[in-house]
Structure formats: structure tokens, C-alpha cells
């Protein structure tokens, strides 16, 4: 009975980790992370540089093996290689370091990804066209991805993450290097995804974006989850920036001054 209720609760939880740890030699990049993200939420994952955000996303998406700990995505055990492959069918990823093939055009790349997710060819074709248009990449049909700017590559990676219409979307710094117009478009697209039930897990350094978009926020520092709450609760007690600075212990930073600027 307990097992059944545990299973049911996992069905409504999109991401769940217990004691998730990743060491690089002596360094604990992520240290015993216990995370729980409900399905259908727009979750902002924040932290200072080197806190372990990207390492966490890499582990959750299967790009990096955890040293220890368990992780469940959409109710399935991500550490089981065979189950992980099945989960990947329902997951879209925009990794921090982009995952493009240099020598394909945008349309070819999207077609390739669509076919990998076993979408019907007509669907692949339609979605490719829509995504290329909406990302303003359709004017560069002949360009190979190696000729793209960083922003264009980011948009193409996002398009590839969206093409399978995933239930869970991981976005590692998706707004980095993207112009204001595309950024607006991206925000609207993500909101629309969440409205129709997709869970979005996003990391960003831009707190304003997280504040505008996210329903829930988690803050990681030194590899540990140090804060987690809903955006509504945070707004009641101040701004996200205040809460973030409090949580990551920024007092010592405020006290520090450069000696040669003090004279």
C-alpha cells in the first residue's frame, strides 16, 4: 500500500533526487542534493557561480554520471540505463554547452532530432517549419550550424528541445547570449509550455527573468540545496534578489572593499 502511494506521488512529481552527489576528485560539486519539483511547475534553479547548477542539470539529463544518490524523472529511475532511455523520449534539454552537429543545417538538425524521437514525418516537417520561423532561423536555410552565432545556436538548441513536445524541459542558462526580441519570444514560448502542463526546470543568473517566469525557486550553494519555496511566498517577504543574497551569505561580499579604491 505504501509502495502504491509512493508510486502515485512520484507520478505527480517531475523531478526527485535523494542524496545526489557528484565529486570531482576532492571537490564536491553537488553534495547530497534532495530536490523535489512537482509536475507542471516552472522551477527556477539559482545559485552563485560554481554552486553546482550545471552539474545538477547534467546529472539529471544523463550527461554526467552521479557519484552517488538517486534521481527520478517523471516517476522513473534515471540511474537505470534502460529506463533512462525511455525517460529521454519525454524530456527536452538545452545544455549549457550546446549539442549541435557542425555540418548540418538547422532544418536538417531539427529533422534529425524529430526522427530520433520517432515523430511522424509530417509532424517533423510541420514542427521544423514552425520552429524555424518562430526562432527567425528560416532566413538562413543554407547556413551550417558551425556558421551560426552563439545566439542562433542557442535558439536552434531550444528548437530541438521543443520539437518532441516534451513533458519535462531542462534549460541551462537559456537566455545567455540571446537578443531582447528572441528573449521575449522564448519567455512567451516557455510560459505557453507550462500552461499546457510541461514542467520547466531552468537555471539562470538573471534574477529578474526567474522572478517573472517561475512559479517555484530553489537555491543551491556549495553543492547543497539551501532554499526552496514558491515565488508567491518569496514575493510576500520581499524580492527574489534579497532572498538570494541572504541565502548565499553575501554579507561578507558587501563588507569587502578594494583597498586602492578607498583612498
Amino acid at each position: 500500500m505504501e509502495n502504491l502511494s509512493g508510486l502515485n506521488s512520484r507520478m505527480t512529481i517531475a523531478i526527485e533526487t535523494h542524496g545526489l552527489t557528484r565529486c570531482f576528485g576532492d571537490l564536491y560539486a553537488v553534495n547530497g542534493l534532495d530536490l523535489c519539483v512537482e509536475a507542471g511547475k516552472f522551477y527556477g534553479f539559482l545559485g552563485p557561480n560554481g554552486a553546482g547548477k550545471s552539474t545538477t542539470i547534467k546529472m539529471l539529463t544523463g550527461l554526467l554520471a552521479p557519484t552517488r544518490g538517486t534521481m527520478y524523472l517523471l516517476g522513473e529511475d534515471m540511474t537505470d540505463a534502460n529506463k533512462a532511455r525511455e525517460i529521454k523520449r519525454r524530456v527536452g534539454v538545452v545544455p549549457e554547452e550546446l549539442a549541435l552537429f557542425d555540418n548540418l543545417t538547422a532544418r536538417e538538425y531539427l529533422t534529425f532530432v524529430g526522427r530520433m524521437y520517432q515523430l511522424p514525418m509530417a509532424t517533423v516537417r510541420d514542427r521544423c517549419q514552425e520552429l524555424l520561423t518562430i526562432m527567425s532561423l528560416d532566413n538562413e536555410e543554407k547556413k551550417l550550424t558551425l556558421e551560426y552565432s552563439h545566439g542562433m545556436k542557442k535558439k536552434l538548441t531550444l528548437a530541438a528541445a521543443l520539437i518532441p513536445n516534451p513533458d519535462l524541459l531542462f534549460l541551462d542558462e537559456p537566455f545567455e547570449g540571446i537578443d531582447a526580441v528572441s528573449s521575449r519570444l522564448l519567455r512567451d514560448t516557455l510560459k505557453r509550455c507550462v500552461q499546457r502542463g510541461t514542467t520547466v526546470f531552468l537555471t539562470s543568473h538573471v534574477l529578474e527573468i526567474v522572478e517573472k517566469l517561475c512559479t517555484d525557486v530553489g537555491i543551491i550553494a556549495k553543492g547543497k540545496l539551501v532554499y526552496q519555496d514558491t515565488m508567491d511566498q518569496i514575493r510576500k517577504s520581499g524580492s527574489l534578489e534579497e532572498r538570494f543574497l541572504e541565502t548565499v551569505d553575501s554579507d561578507h561580499v558587501e563588507r569587502q572593499r578594494l583597498s586602492w579604491l578607498e583612498d
Binding site: 532511455r85 534539454v93 554547452e97 557542425d102 548540418l104 529533422t111 526522427r115 530520433m116 516537417r125
Partner: protein, 583 residues
């Protein structure tokens, strides 16, 4: 740049190298040091050999013989150096100027440090001691006037390295446009291969003396034999006047010309040659400097190729290549194969590898097979066909044994894909199949025409081609999973891989001929059975080739699951290797 800054820059370079070594582990550091010690020892050996050759072998040689000896050394040096340029066509600076431009350091000094560091190439490490040793030997063996060889050789090296540096910088500026870059890389490679192989083609294939004599037996005279006999050191060679005159005007030949003149007691050609080489070298270095900083400061005219804009967009989008289905192949594997194939045929480094290997194998094969065709009996012709198949795979083994190294960041996408890993391997193999079959069939057609081999042997060789492909695919899949290494974009050069990986790659390439043994079984058994008088060789060869193909196809299919599982286990490690950029 003051002394402190120079020291800091040298420290930086050392630190980057040391960190790279320490990341590879102690074993890699040891192997690297052994390789470096080997290079230095070999260079020293060349120096000693040069001294002995100059002091003993060439001490009484005629001036013309000395000229020819130097020409051969310079020719070998240039050929070796050019191979180095081709393998790393883009200049990789020792100190990345991009990261220094904002610092208060003299640009000229950084440039000079990089230029001097560019001398640390295998061609210079091996040839310069040899050239200097030969000069010492000539001084000891002949006369003090030969001392002029030192400035001449050094000026020549300066001329070559400065223009090489300039050429590489110029290519970089041209290749700002990435599409143009592809054309340049492929074009330069083709040009180099063709030019370097022309003497082979003329000397060994088209106008080989044996071939010439077999066609014109009446011309097989005493004078013919004299021209093909080797010259004895000490006897004078009679070089045509035009050849000797060319030595006065072609800078590459000035070293030989200077040496010959010094042996005749005339120092002026050597002095003038040194001065000329210095001037040309200085001009090259000046151009290299200007080109380099124009490039880094964005002053180059990196015109983009005009591209048609889609003024009118059709609502119906044309069916693209990646939408195709491959009969009998799972949809995901087919899509992977098509994507990989499209990437391969567009990648300049792959074109370069294929072009290089195709022509090298063609000329090499022609030298071996065509020259012997007149004397080779029908009995051994099946081995020629099978041997040509084996040659195909020597050429594309790097592609097959490091399938993920060319993906670089793209491999991240493969890890994210929800497909069985055996389909990734199948897709990779299928992408190379048309290339292997294309080159193999070209070789077979050429052999059929050149050697009049029967159709049944050629068809049997066709089956052996696919068999060899399956064999190499299995070995290549295993190697790709266990010993991956990153190939820098636009080059064929692995990006500073650990010495242990280098060792394993070398071992695998040495074992490659052993992997080809099974395809020689059908012609070998055919020969045995026909010699015993039991069955005709061609029929045995044909049917055994089919049988062998069937067995290998079964093995290949069975291996995919196991190797796919291995890939799944190793994929994160592979990802780390092929996506890691090393300074």
C-alpha cells in the same frame, strides 16, 4: 616586452603544457617524455650520421654528387614539412594572441615568441641536426671553405619557416569565412597530394623503365641500362645544363648550389644564397607579422560569400535528405546514418582524409600492382583484387576507429537521444559504408581495366569488400568506444591527446593488417584447392567470399547489442574526451 613579461609568458606556456600532462596521469607523462627523448636522440643521431656522411662518404665525392645529396635532403625536408602543414593547416599559436591583445605587452614580441616556437616541429627537429652535421662533416672532410654552409643552411631554414608561418597565417585569414575554409583545406590537400605524387606517377607507373622496356623491347639497349644504373659516389654525374642553371634561380635549390660551388672552391654562390634567403625570409616574416595582427584586430577583408536571400518562400518545403528511409533499417538508425553521412561528406577534415588516402593508396597500389602486372600470373591476380580491398581500409581506418572524435559537441546530442545505443553504432557504420564501397569499387574497376582480371574475381572481391567493412566496423566500434580522441575542427590532428591514447592508436593501426587476414582466406583456399586439382580457384574464391560475408554479417549483427551496451556504459567518458578543448 621586458624580461619579466617574457619569463611570465614562457611560464604560462610551460604551465599549460604541464597541466595538460598532469591531467593525463603519470603513465602518459612518462610516455610523452620517452617520445620526446626519442625525438631528441633521433635528431642527435641524424647529426652524427650527417658528420660521418660529410667527413667520410662525401669527402672525395664530385661537386655534382654533393649538389644532388643536398637537393635530396632539402627535398625530403620540404616534403616532411609540408605533410606537417597539411595535417595542421590552421596555425595554432603557442601563445594565443587573442588572449594577449588587451594586455600591455608588445605585439611584436608575442609574435616573435610564437614564430620561434613554431620551429619545434618534427621536420626541423629531425632535419636541422642532420644538415648541420653534414656541414660539419664537409668542413672536416673537404676544406674550411665549406664553413659557409652553416649560414646558408640557417638562412634557408629561416626562409622556409618564415614563409611557412606567413602562408599559414594567410590561410587563416582566408578561412575566416568557414565555407571558404573548407574549399581551401580540400584544395590545398588535393594540390599537395597531386604535386608530391607526380614523380611517383611518372617514375614508377607511367614511365617505369621495366614497363617501358616491355613495350619497346627493341629499345632495350646498353644505353638504357646505363641511364637506369645508380651513380657511384666519386664518379661525376652529368646533370643537364638547364638543371644546373635552375639551381641559380630557384631558392629551394640554393643550398645544393652553394654546396657544389664551395666544393669547387667558389664561395660566392653560398654567400649570395645566404643573403638572398635572409632577404626573402625577412620579407616573409614581415608579411606574416602584418597578416597576423590584421587578422587578430579584425582588419582583414573577410568577405562573406553572397548568399541568395529567400525573397519568396514556398509554403511547401522541399523534402530534405534526412527525411529519407533506408529499406530494412530501423527508422532511428536510418536517420542517424543519414545525419552522420551528411556531416561526414561536408566536413573538410574528412574530405581531406579521404582525398589524401584515396590518392596515396591509388599511387601506392599502382606502384605495386601495375608495375608487376606484366610478370604476375593469373594464379595471383585474385590476391591483387583482395589486396586492393585491404588498401581501402588502411585509408579510412581513422574514420572508422574514432567515430565520435569528429562529432565533438555533437556527441552531447547523441547522449541525450532516446535511442538504443546499438542504433548509434549501426548509423555510424552505415554512414561510412557508401564511402568505403565507393572507393573500393573504384579500385576494383581500375584493377579490372589495368590487369584484365576476370569478372568473377572482381565480384568475389566486391563481397570481400563488404566483409572487410563489417570486420573493420566491429573493430572500429570497439576502438571508438574504448579509445576515443577529439579531432580539432577543420584538421585531422587529434587535440593533444594523452600519450597512452597515442600508444593505443599506434598499436591498433599496426594490428589493422591482422584484422584483414580473413578476407584473404577465399583466394588462398581457392589457390590451394586448384593446385590440388579439386576445384577451380575462381569458383572457390567466389562462393567462399559469399559464405564469409554471411558469417561476418551474422557476427556483426550479434556484436551490435554488446557494443551498444558498452557504448551506453562509456558514453559519459567519451563525452568528456571528445568535448574537452585543450589549450
Amino acid at each position: 616586452m621586458n624580461w619579466s613579461q617574457l619569463r611570465t609568458i614562457l611560464w604560462l606556456r610551460w604551465r599549460l603544457t604541464r597541466n595538460q600532462w598532469s591531467r593525463g596521469g603519470p603513465l602518459n607523462a612518462v610516455i610523452t617524455m620517452i617520445a620526446a627523448a626519442g625525438g631528441i636522440t633521433f635528431g642527435a643521431g641524424c647529426g652524427i650520421a650527417g658528420i660521418l656522411a660529410g667527413a667520410l662518404a662525401l669527402s672525395r665525392a664530385s661537386p655534382t654528387v654533393i649538389l644532388v645529396a643536398w637537393d635530396l635532403i632539402i627535398g625530403a625536408f620540404l616534403l616532411f614539412g609540408t605533410i606537417g602543414i597539411i595535417s595542421e593547416i590552421q596555425r595554432s599559436e603557442t601563445i594565443d594572441i587573442n588572449r594577449m591583445l588587451h594586455l600591455p605587452i608588445s605585439q611584436r614580441d608575442i609574435f616573435l615568441v610564437n614564430y620561434l616556437a613554431s620551429h619545434l616541429t618534427p621536420s626541423i627537429i629531425l632535419f636541422l641536426p642532420g644538415m648541420m652535421g653534414l656541414s660539419v662533416g664537409l668542413v672536416l672532410g673537404r676544406s674550411w671553405t665549406m664553413i659557409c654552409m652553416f649560414p646558408l643552411v640557417l638562412a634557408f631554414i629561416f626562409m622556409i619557416t618564415s614563409w611557412t608561418y606567413c602562408l599559414r597565417g594567410w590561410l587563416v585569414t582566408l578561412m575566416i569565412n568557414k565555407r571558404r575554409r573548407r574549399a581551401i583545406i580540400t584544395g590545398v590537400t588535393f594540390a599537395f597530394i597531386l604535386v608530391s605524387q607526380l614523380p611517383n606517377l611518372f617514375g614508377n607507373v607511367l614511365f617505369h623503365p621495366e614497363r617501358h622496356r616491355s613495350n619497346n623491347t627493341t629499345q632495350s639497349t646498353q644505353s638504357d641500362r646505363q641511364t637506369t644504373s645508380r651513380p657511384h659516389i666519386g664518379k661525376d654525374l652529368a646533370l643537364p645544363h638547364a638543371v644546373l642553371a635552375a639551381h641559380n634561380y630557384v631558392p629551394f635549390l640554393w643550398v645544393g648550389n652553394g654546396a657544389m660551388s664551395l666544393a669547387q672552391g667558389n664561395a660566392w654562390p653560398a654567400i649570395l644564397g645566404s643573403a638572398g634567403a635572409l632577404l626573402i625570409g625577412g620579407w616573409g616574416l614581415r608579411r606574416a607579422y602584418r597578416t597576423t595582427f590584421r587578422f587578430y584586430q579584425g582588419q582583414t577583408a573577410g568577405r562573406s560569400i553572397p548568399r541568395k536571400t529567400n525573397a519568396k518562400k514556398d509554403t511547401a518545403v522541399a523534402r530534405n535528405f534526412l527525411e529519407r528511409q533506408l529499406p530494412g533499417i530501423p527508422a532511428e538508425a536510418a536517420a542517424l546514418a543519414l545525419a552522420f553521412f551528411r556531416s561526414l561528406v561536408r566536413a573538410p577534415e574528412v574530405k581531406m582524409a579521404l582525398a589524401t588516402n584515396f590518392f596515396m593508396m591509388l599511387f601506392f597500389g599502382a606502384m605495386i600492382f601495375v608495375r608487376r602486372s606484366a610478370t604476375l600470373g593469373d594464379t595471383f591476380k585474385p590476391f591483387v583484387a583482395t589486396g586492393s580491398i585491404a588498401l581501402v581500409f588502411f585509408g579510412i581506418s581513422q574514420l572508422m576507429c574514432n567515430q565520435f572524435g569528429f562529432d565533438r559537441g555533437g556527441f552531447r546530442q547523441l547522449v541525450l537521444l532516446p535511442v538504443p545505443r546499438k542504433y548509434i553504432l549501426l548509423g555510424k557504420n552505415l554512414a561510412i559504408l557508401p564511402i568505403a564501397v565507393g572507393i573500393g569499387l573504384t579500385f576494383l574497376v581500375l584493377i579490372k581495366i589495368a590487369m584484365h582480371i576476370s569478372f568473377i574475381i572482381i565480384i568475389a572481391a566486391g563481397f570481400q569488400l563488404v566483409t572487410a567493412f563489417l570486420l573493420l566496423s566491429m573493430a572500429g566500434n570497439l576502438m571508438s568506444v574504448l579509445v576515443p580522441y577529439r579531432i580539432a575542427s577543420g584538421t585531422l590532428k587529434p587535440t593533444k591527446i594523452p600519450a597512452m591514447t597515442v600508444f593505443l592508436i599506434m598499436v591498433s593501426h599496426m594490428l589493422l593488417p591482422a584484422a584483414m587476414i580473413p578476407i584473404f582466406l577465399p583466394p588462398a583456399l581457392g589457390l590451394l584447392l586448384s593446385k590440388a586439382g579439386w576445384l577451380p580457384a575462381a569458383m572457390v574464391n567466389f562462393f567462399l567470399s559469399i559464405g564469409l560475408l554471411g558469417i561476418l554479417a551474422l557476427f556483426y549483427w550479434l556484436s551490435l547489442t554488446g557494443l551498444g551496451n558498452l557504448l551506453q556504459q562509456q558514453e559519459k567518458k567519451i563525452l568528456q574526451v571528445v568535448t574537452q578543448e585543450v589549450e
